[in-house]
Symmetry: C2
Subunit: 421 residues, 2 copies
Amino acid sequence: MNVELVTIGNELLLGFTLDSNGAHLARELAAIGVSIVRRTSVGDEATAIAAVVREALDRTGAVITTGGLGPTSDDLTKPSVAAVFGRSMRLDEGILEALRQRWISRGWGTELPAANTQQAMIPDGASILVNRHGSAPGIWLEDERARWVAMLPGVPREMRGMFADELLPKLRERLGASATAVVVSRTVRTTGISESLLADTLKPVESALAGLSLAFLPGWAGVDLRLTSRGRSAGESAARLDSAAAVLRTAIGSSVYGAETDDLVRAVLERLRTAGMTLVVAESCTGGLLGSRITAIPGSSHFFLGGVIAYSNEVKATHLGVGDNTLIKHGAVSEATAREMASGVRARYRADLAVSITGVAGPDGGTPEKPVGTVCVAVDLRGVLTSARRQLIGDREEVRLRSTQWALDMVRQALDRDLSS
Amino acid sequence: MNVELVTIGNELLLGFTLDSNGAHLARELAAIGVSIVRRTSVGDEATAIAAVVREALDRTGAVITTGGLGPTSDDLTKPSVAAVFGRSMRLDEGILEALRQRWISRGWGTELPAANTQQAMIPDGASILVNRHGSAPGIWLEDERARWVAMLPGVPREMRGMFADELLPKLRERLGASATAVVVSRTVRTTGISESLLADTLKPVESALAGLSLAFLPGWAGVDLRLTSRGRSAGESAARLDSAAAVLRTAIGSSVYGAETDDLVRAVLERLRTAGMTLVVAESCTGGLLGSRITAIPGSSHFFLGGVIAYSNEVKATHLGVGDNTLIKHGAVSEATAREMASGVRARYRADLAVSITGVAGPDGGTPEKPVGTVCVAVDLRGVLTSARRQLIGDREEVRLRSTQWALDMVRQALDRDLSS
């Protein structure tokens, strides 16, 4: 089955919003063997929406739209698509009552704002895609030739929920037995090795990847390698991808930290579980970003106790015990300071393991000796200290993200050394 | 001038990557009056790339591509587009030498990996768009009918740098005097008020917005209101937008916290500067996310000292002085605990102002009395305590983001009360 995606909203054409909906749908559809043959973005104009949907219907016969279902005057998807199908709009009392109940139960007031009434209007002959995650209902509209448009909301959380609850089961049913020859991917995640060095490392094993495509996807977290298999049965794809992924992992070695969407945080949490250890952090230039990444994972509270955001030097001295001499002689951005930060937070917060980050994230604050991107990381594992200094690339945001990734990698390596000794 | 965007990479069709490049280019181009008439995503296949670029050239005559310029075997943009123009590829010795120097100067080794050589191949008759932010050079290719394709790298930081350095000046020059009737937008940012309530609030002032379009953009940070003016001179657009934005601000009142891409953090930092105060944080469920958001802003170190990530109850007790009785009687997620966290971190870290967050971010840990999304925030401004409890919506990530936004809003309001008294 081929599908076109139409994402609706001036904000997409003007570039004010990232189209995360398109990416999510592409991923989910690929998994059931549905190919996206075109993605189009169009603004909040009734005629433009109708034109794009009509063209997509004529080409492909199956269209998913996102956006333009809200309560405000720029939300025009339903009447525009109704016009393409030659249907009129009617008020659905059931939807209106559900909206009213939702408003009251949230404690937002006793009366539904007039603007919400628009959300209860639906095209004649449409089926409703129930929204359990927000107020705007979705719509499924189909003509006598089985051509269809599914309209989903633009708010990502609502769109994802509605897709999973309502649209995905509907599409699976339509596909039936044809959902066999699918597109399947495996991702091998690496960190601390450059894209071109990876490419050279993998040259000798390229023959093991025959019939699969291999994509290199660099980013602040490292370089992801994605293997893709097309047009085979699910079983054959899985077998080929598994053996190819194993070949990549062997060739690359310890720079591989995970697979698929694995976060390096999860790799660290797994090792903490195995080692039975607790972790704390001391963050200067990252200001809490490392703690934030760790606690983004549910269940991290079993191993992560917390730590100190030591943005000022006074906090480093008073609450981590970094010596005044260290700060004066080596500076706040130094391995010496990083080591005292790690040891200080580990002792005070009574943890098995501590990691610290101090650096120059930019754009200001660089010097010839310590240019922007200079970062020091230290790990203290029950008194065993390791530290290093690196020159990271990118802007402030990227330097900070790369710093947290590198710090997590240092923790992973320290745990691996400890677990294997 | 109309332009089409073609973003290249399997990862875009399969949904593994968010297309931030498209959004950035759309925004930058709109500012010089260039309209994006279509956005297409295509995979890493030479024939597919050539087909899409050929169609776009035939339709619009001006195409910007991103992606597919890297050193690995899936990077096919240059030869594919060369084929569309009927040009062959040649090795550019200047680019090769620059790549070699860059490799050596970064300390990555003495020999350039063979994979990088591919980056030095360019189509006959092409101009080079210099890359000051990475290794892959960009390409400008034009035919005798002045139809052109500009090829930019896919790595967002490199793409943005090259666009600003090389392509933008080139396009400005082409546009000349025609860059007058432009698309201009103003954004008014609100937080703590629902989209439909905003719509009702603005109904009475709609007439003041005649001739402008108004978009409601809800997200975890609040609802952004975007006013857009099309087809007027830059001066007329600015005057209309300014007066319309002023009307919105007056109608909405204190829920407005900024304009354009203002971060609520900046609004808080501005007030801290005015008040001459310092800020610290104590974070439980957000685990450093608030500190991370604050320190994402360069210069925040003048007002932000740091704080405590108090993920475990023991850290709350030992390092913030939250009473055991408080934790037992009210629980870790309570206004009482939030208040003691704020006061505790303020006293220990010697700051004027402290803000604390404790809550149930989910997906587990909810109870009937404190379901997932229950969050308590407290602010201590020189001993004056305020606190509140709210039920926030969304998944773990969204609850955490909404928590930091709400905490910053509490700080903003406390500072406004203090500054006006």
